[in-house]
Subunit: 177 residues, 2 copies
């Protein structure tokens, strides 16, 4: 997917010095990297990758030809999935940042989705790169609220909001510290 | 997918007389049957199928092993996709029903999603069948609001709402009447 994104859309993400950066999701430990939306180890999945761009977080995604709704248009469930995983990734990154800690440091921060909302403003044509931008609206206790907008060729096509909460202890995979 | 569902979960849906019934989505014309969520012609997709069960609509779906979030749990984006496509399918079926028309009759009814909301109440373990139930809350003009709940082994694990609108004319695939 990453190679395809680079080839087809020319957007493999690099930092200001031209060196490839690690995404939020690249800091998740292996045991928590199987998510269909953003797990780097899930070969069937979307492998969404999110980064900081100043105060905003950003992820780009090139839909596959079969991610269709009405023919020619991008499937809305894909857009919801992008907002979802970008939101939980942004939540983790934001709390690390607020706490002044390196991403991936212990105690580990991993968020799950409590609620997801998407307003579809315009149909999105297949064949273009989707950009998802997130803003942290609120951090309170175990909860982080992230608003998101999906942008295609400069136009906002969808707006969304994710309420993310710290992963409950009893969801931790067995054997994980 | 349908055969797998039958084999693994024993739930291929039949009517009261034991004869397999057509799903809402089976009435969509071929040109509009490529949706990743519910298009019967999209071999990469989920092929969700929705039916009436009295005043409610119902769809069941057996997640694949790779539809994971945190390992062992179902991906929330999949649940959002099920609610989405079940909602638009229910919207079409509901308007046909209100108008006293056969499903699939002209003028054709096909809905797209204007907004989607999901509240995730409990994490859902992989390996069980998801049931999505829809209720029509409102039909007004070109808009239908469908509430949904996702049930696993008798427990409501998610609640959602879809605001569906009639597909705009300019989204119709070329050549379609």
């Amino acid at each position: 997917m990453q190679e395809r994104q680079k080839e087809v859309y020319g957007t493999k993400r690099k930092g200001k010095n031209g060196v490839s950066r690690k995404a939020f999701q690249d800091f998740y430990p292996d045991e928590l990297s199987w998510c269909y939306g953003c797990g780097r180890l899930n070969e069937h999945g979307l492998r969404i990758k999110s980064y900081w761009d100043g105060e905003e977080s950003v992820a780009t995604y090139p839909p596959e030809s079969y991610h269709t709704a009405i023919p020619g248009y991008v499937y809305g469930g894909l857009i919801a999935s992008l907002i979802d995983c970008h939101g939980t990734g942004t939540a983790a990154a934001a709390v690390y940042r607020v706490e002044g800690r390196e991403m991936g440091s212990q105690p580990l921060l991993r968020f799950v989705t409590a609620s997801l909302h998407v307003d579809y403003l315009h149909p999105v044509r297949l064949g273009v790169l989707l950009e998802v931008r997130g803003n942290v609206k609120e951090i309170r206790g175990r909860k982080v609220v992230v608003s998101a907008r999906v942008i295609v060729e400069g136009e906002i096509c969808a707006r969304g909001e994710v309420v993310a909460v710290r992963m409950p202890e009893d969801m931790k995979p067995e054997g994980m510290v």
